[in-house]
């Protein structure tokens, strides 16, 4: 048993027999015996050994825990591919309105018109942003949206009497892409990238055949670069009758500037917890709606939110759940999706509007390029060069390989040392094709001064490493814990408290 300091006592360890927070409402019905109402042989022998703790202690416990977390409201969080932009506080207020928070999902649609209309309007807005008119809000997260997209692709091909076996993903793809492909019952085939950071068109042509169901892509790519050849890619993929899928993780770079639908994509997923400000919550909730073209529309999950105009009602719109979808792939989850997330994203879109959303993307790209320029000015790129000599979009990837060679510290060590400076490190070791990768996405909500300071901090860490690389190698020093033994945690996992 690892010696526990007071700070790290779990809620179970703080328990004392007999303590409690909950007071049960008084019993106002006959006090019948439990074993009279439930079969004795199916009753639990011992009650679950949940904590026994008072409310004040419970509040202190979780408040103390919270202070051992770094968060976006506190500091800069340039995690590439995650779009850690500000979470507007208005959104918590509207999500908490009782008409939203206390609405049962099975409420009769006639009495949930506000919710259904909100969802329908969100669908329309997302469809406009994507350039694909048919939207389903059902998937619960980006990878859930990816799964939906590949299953839609399968349904599309099967409906045409075809049975395809492969899905292409670039070697820069986020891990969820190939994982999704396998979950959907296809084989993954990797497509290479060229020296400019684009999908290698020759490799794509060689691998795109009639066994290929789909190509999954993101644009800009996970390298933060816009695919020069996107139109040719679409031609190649459509030419063999496959669908083109857009992973919307990087949508923050192009809103109002160009649209995946116009690039030739058939299916797009959105990450509402990235582009549309849903707070990340330390690992969710999120939401991954999808937008599709006309030819994919029949297969959308069931039910769909629709707007019916009834003649009897004077043409007033009636928002409804449409289950009559014979070609639908069916359901991916219960009820209608993460409605609480829709409320926040809808509020965001209404707050920013058309010009505001375009400005988001312009500033996201401006901030990323500015940060890259400042890092260059500070001499950082001498040790962490940009992996590709191109104008980046909303994020860029550096390689720490020269730093490792010349200063003796790895990207991991740089990241750990950044923690001592009150900054969350960028994404490390992704994408896989860049050695010692450092993927940096500042987002549009950061000030110029924050970006300046980050560049100065990185430069300072490199100077320090030149002097004494051991400092970064053993960092961090000022965080609640120092480097943790992850190997031990994986070899002999302790994943619950022994009670």
């Amino acid at each position: 048993m690892i010696a526990a300091e007071e700070q790290t006592l779990t809620v179970f360890e703080r328990s004392r027999p007999g303590r409690r927070a909950f007071v049960a409402p008084a019993l106002d019905v006959p006090e019948r015996a439990v074993d009279e109402l439930l079969p004795a042989e199916l009753l639990r022998g011992q009650e679950p050994r949940l904590p026994e703790i008072s409310e004040p202690e419970l509040v202190r416990h979780y408040n103390r825990l919270s202070k051992r977390n770094f968060d976006l409201d506190t500091g800069f969080y340039p995690l590439g591919s995650c779009t850690m932009k500000h979470n507007p506080k208005l959104h918590e207020r509207v999500a908490a309105l009782p008409g939203n928070a206390a609405l049962h999902p099975l409420q009769d649609p006639r009495y949930a018109q506000g919710a259904l209309e909100l969802m329908w309007r969100l669908q329309v807005a997302l469809g406009e942003i994507a350039g694909l008119p048919h939207v389903s809000l059902q998937p619960s997260a980006g990878s859930h949206g990816e799964l939906a997209g590949v299953l839609l692709t399968r349904a599309f091909h099967e409906d045409r009497g075809e049975r395809r076996t492969k899905v292409l993903t670039p070697d820069t793809a986020h891990g969820t892409n190939p994982a999704t492909v396998t979950m959907a019952g296809y084989d993954v085939v990797k497509v290479g990238s060229d020296a400019r950071g684009n999908v290698d068109l020759d490799d794509l042509r060689a691998k795109a055949d009639e066994q290929v169901a789909c190509l999954m892509l993101t644009n800009p790519s996970t390298l933060g670069l816009f695919e020069h050849g996107i139109e040719e890619i679409a031609r190649i993929v459509h030419g063999v009758g496959a669908t083109l899928y857009y992973d919307g993780a990087n949508l923050n770079a192009i809103m109002g500037v160009c649209r995946p639908g116009d690039m030739g994509f058939d299916i797009v997923h959105f990450n509402l917890h990235k582009t549309f400000t849903q707070p990340h919550g330390g690992g969710g909730p999120g939401s991954g709606p999808i937008a599709v073209s006309d030819r994919i529309e029949p297969y959308l999950p069931r039910p769909q939110i629709v707007c019916r105009r009834s003649e009897g009602n004077g043409g007033e719109p009636f928002f409804d759940l449409d289950y009559d979808r014979p070609k639908s792939i069916g359901r991916l989850r219960g009820f209608q999706g993460n409605y609480g997330v829709f409320v926040r994203s809808y509020a965001y879109i209404r707050s920013l509007g058309a010009e505001g959303l375009r400005e988001v993307s312009e500033l996201a790209v401006l901030n990323a390029n500015y940060l890259l320029a400042r890092l260059r000015q500070e001499g950082v790129l001498d040790y962490l060069p940009a992996a590709y000599e191109r104008v980046c979009m909303h994020e860029f990837v550096l390689s720490g390989a020269p730093m490792r060679r010349e200063l003796g510290i790895k990207t991991l060590d740089l990241a750990k040392r950044l923690l001592d400076f009150g900054v969350h490190p960028p994404t490390v070791y992704f994408p896989l094709i860049v050695d010692e990768a450092l993927l940096i996405e500042p987002t549009e909500t950061e000030t110029k001064e924050t970006l300046d300071r980050f560049a100065e901090i990185v430069a300072a860490i490199l100077r320090e490493a030149k002097d004494d690389p051991e400092i970064a190698r053993a960092a961090p020093y000022t965080t609640p814990v120092r480097r943790l033994d992850e190997a031990a945690a994986a070899r002999r996992p302790v994943i619950r408290q022994p009670l």
């Binding site: 070791y429 190997a487 070899r491």
Partner: protein, 128 residues
């Protein structure tokens, strides 16, 4: 971890696996290069006794904290022993990749396959 070593009495496969051939049987493991690239090994799931493995094909996986790696068979044969001690101490693969960190023992089905493997010097040269 010790410095890179490549014992001369072993034969080497391009996918960073070694074989110690003793007559009709051989012992397999992964090389220093492979364990270094993987990082601290946390899990090894051995194949079953009696399993048939084929040269150049993956016969199991080794996991470190941050990576999973296929282990490729340098020669073909039938598994006659697996290193049970590794389930308690998988880190032995890092500490002693050629000794206590052996993975499986195999009854060779075609000993002549050994001719296609590299010697220590050739393998080490291939790494740079």
């Amino acid at each position: 971890m010790a410095d890179a070593t490549y014992p001369e009495d072993l034969l080497y496969h391009a996918e960073h696996d070694w074989a110690r051939v003793e007559g009709e049987e051989a012992t397999f493991g992964i090389t220093w290069f492979a364990q270094d690239a993987l990082g601290e090994v946390v899990f090894f799931d051995p194949p079953k006794i009696g399993a048939r493995i084929r040269k150049d094909e993956s016969y199991t996986e080794i996991e470190s904290v941050k990576a999973v790696s296929d282990v490729v068979a340098p020669l073909s044969g039938e598994v006659i022993a697996v290193n049970e001690a590794l389930s308690d101490s998988p880190e032995t693969i890092n500490e002693d990749p050629y000794g206590e960190g052996w993975l499986v023992r195999v009854k060779l089905s075609d000993p002549a396959e050994a001719e296609s493997l590299m010697d220590a010097a050739t393998y080490e040269a291939s790494l740079s």
